[in-house]
Amino acid sequence: MAIETFPVEAGHIMMFARAVGDANKIYYDEAYAKTTEVGSIIAPPTFVQASAQFDPDYRLRPAIGEPWFGSGKEPTGVQQSSGGGGTGLHAEQHYEYHRHPKPGDVLTATSRPGKTWERQGRRSGKLIFTESITEYRDQHGELVVTARGVGVRTERPVEQS
């Protein structure tokens, strides 16, 4: 994944903060934010995840004019490829903050693959884990956030106890 332009916008931060149930005024009230130690609106700690909005090739957003795997007339809009009914899930997420992004920043994101490993799961068959490391840099090339994500693909849906 490479994102060339991730503009950090105040309205986007406000919507993201609402979605994670955070009423803190630091995420939407510029006048209040000016009176605080940080001095401006900043982004909540997991906000860089929303860089997906600016990834032109992001697979979990319907692409205009293309079939989507969610439901419409039928439960799914595409024939499932052979995958044996497994699901891609998020296993871990780690962030290191060099500073906190704020409105006006224009970030770039570059990702590289990390480790891959397998494990036998009790409730979902064989699990395949893949790691990816993403660096978010600002308009001056300075590192802002380093992210490490681990995804897991299950062999079958996770059994519910």
Binding site: M15, F16, E37, Q80, Y95
Partner: protein, 140 residues
Amino acid sequence: MALSAKQLKVGDTHSEQVVDNLTRTQIVQYAGASGDYNPIHTDEVYTTKVAGYPSVFAHGMLTMGLTGTMLTNYVGDGRLTKFGVRFTKQVWPGDSLTAKATVEAIREDGGKHFVDLQLSMVNQNGEEVLSGYASARIDP
């Protein structure tokens, strides 16, 4: 209000209920804000008939985001230096979630003070849905 090294001690805890009766609409809000429109989070028909789950379920990153709300309420704005989690159980509509931070260490590094926290989030049945860690800069 930032935390202060003088006032903190190992074993101190802070916990908050960050969601009471999680709604599908909040999950939709998160999908819209984050840009992750995977139908397993918002499309009951797809999720039950194709993906094979009993209902839609929350994004792991919504669970982490909710934990972040508790965390920044505790350590103050702009103070976090590290935040990492493992998702240990799925979160479903109707769940009520409580996030907790426990002080693991208070340390000084290059004249700056930091707190290391252990994190956990449990649902209404006391089952852990997330575990993790965080570090934050604190006042002397």
